[in-house]
């Protein structure tokens, strides 16, 4: 075992600058070279990255477009059986706390929610139509098991929000998949629920068209990752019809 001399001050400074990301040109090339060849330099860069990483807290979450996941799945060679056409945005803890108070206030919330849908900052303004379609809500019932799921749909912004009160039974080998069933039509998947408490998503145009007055919203239990067939295969644990708010 050999004693390694400490990094000299100049190198330490370069490591800090490299972690901060300000270097360019020759200095950047030098830092990259050192990172590959000098373990002490690498460790110092890592130490600075760790020091600065709480700054990530300042970055707001932005729902990624659904097409991204489809591409990733294709590129890792997964079967594109269930392209995720939803944006998933999960704020688990907050929602765990909120959901406790859901049941009592769900009804009054239904109307408020659709007018205050959280938008992502980069979502383009929805095109103003001659007469904006009315927001809709559905109360999904689980036949008396004590769980209520409230869905609200804003057609103008193509945003769907679900809030769950009580507990959707979850186990590690299964997922909850959300469906829309147009009147007299076949179920189409709206994607997997990322948590058993809430979800918030923007729907692609083709799916958005299916969420019309009288369509049924349902949640089924499927193998982890979603129905292998593209139609519900497991038990439907909650469903309800969309009506105008």
């Amino acid at each position: 075992m050999t004693d390694t001399p400490p990094l000299d001050p100049e190198m330490r400074e370069l490591a800090a600058e490299h972690a901060l990301g300000v270097l360019s040109g020759e200095d950047l090339a030098k830092a990259r070279e050192l990172e590959l060849t000098d373990e002490r330099f690498r460790a110092e860069v890592a130490r600075w990255t760790g020091r600065l990483s709480p700054l990530f807290d300042e970055v707001d979450e932005v729902a990624a477009p659904p097409s991204i996941w489809a591409v990733i799945q294709r590129r890792i060679g997964a079967t594109a059986s269930n392209d995720n056409l939803v944006e998933l945005n999960n704020k688990v803890a907050t929602w765990r706390a909120v959901a406790g108070g859901m049941t009592a206030i769900a009804a009054s919330l239904a109307i408020a929610l659709v007018w205050t849908l959280p938008g992502t900052q980069l979502t383009p303004e929805p095109v103003q139509r001659q007469s904006a379609p009315a927001p809709m809500v559905a109360m999904l019932d689980d036949q008396g098991q004590g769980t209520k799921v409230m869905a609200s749909w804003d057609p103008a912004a193509q945003q769907l929000v679900l809030a769950v009160s009580g507990d959707l039974k979850a186990d590690p080998s299964h997922s909850h998949e959300l469906w829309v069933i147009p009147k007299g039509g076949k179920p189409s998947s709206l994607g997997m629920m990322p948590s058993t408490k809430q979800m918030h998503m923007r729907l692609a145009e083709t799916l958005a068209r299916l969420l019309e007055n009288g369509a049924t919203i349902a949640i089924s239990v499927e193998p982890r990752g979603g129905s292998p067939t593209g139609s519900p295969t497991g038990p439907v644990i909650a469903s309800g019809a969309l009506t105008q708010a």
Binding site: L23, L28, F56, E58, A97
Partner: protein
């Protein structure tokens, strides 16, 4: 440390309405437990992903993509490029999840650093005017910066305190460099100061920051 559970964005009217309109048990302890649960869960997903578990990968993506996309957008200032970087990042996660060491970094920080490094690579490549292929040939597989061991991941309260001891200018420059991907030349041009001046502002800021953090 970076908490996985981000505070809701300001436009999350639903929540603000709830908290102002009625008393909800927003128990601090509940939040703490949930944060540590989330961290353990993400770590478990990463371990499963390293064994090629696709459904764990899907769950990991569901839980983390919004945060990482936010980071990519902030760095790239361009949706199309941010989306490409996001894809690259998760493809790297899929291939290199075994490089994650839960003893050394929280999963979300590890992912955030991966995303940031991919974004920075692309930004610097762009600024050098390098052809993508040429640049790709120069970047060795497993660029260590992307997997850097995180030693002593900082407590966020402490970092905030220490940033507050810097002068306003240095603080703003450091924040912008880390989050917006601004380089020395970018910052110097933006502030209208010579490159050397910008370098000495930031170097002094970093020195003070280290002094404070190591106290």
């Amino acid at each position: 440390m970076l908490h996985y559970v981000a505070s809701p964005p300001a436009d999350f009217c639903f929540l603000s309405m709830l908290s102002s309109g009625m008393e909800l048990p927003m128990d601090r302890m509940t939040g703490e437990f949930a944060a540590s649960d989330a961290r353990d869960e993400l770590a478990a997903f990463l371990v499963a992903v390293s064994r090629g578990d696709r459904s764990a990968f899907a769950r990991l993506y569901e839980r983390t993509a919004a945060k990482l996309y936010g980071i990519c957008l902030r760095l790239m200032h361009n949706e199309a490029e941010a989306q490409e970087v996001l894809q690259e990042t998760y493809l790297t996660v899929w291939r290199k999840a075994d490089r994650f060491d839960p003893a050394k970094a929280s999963p979300i920080t590890w992912l955030a650093v991966l995303a940031r490094n991919s974004a920075l690579d692309r930004l610097r490549r762009r600024s050098l005017g390098l052809d993508e292929l040429e640049a790709a040939a120069n970047v060795p597989d497993g660029d260590p910066s992307a997997f850097a061991v995180m030693v002593a991941e900082q407590d966020s309260v402490r970092l905030r305190h220490c940033l507050d001891t810097l002068d306003e200018r240095a603080r703003a420059m450091i924040r912008s460099a880390f989050l917006d991907g601004a380089s020395y030349p970018d910052l110097a041009a933006r502030e209208g100061v010579p490159l050397g001046t910008m370098k000495s502002w930031i170097r002094r800021g970093l020195q003070r920051l280290r002094g404070c953090l190591e106290e």
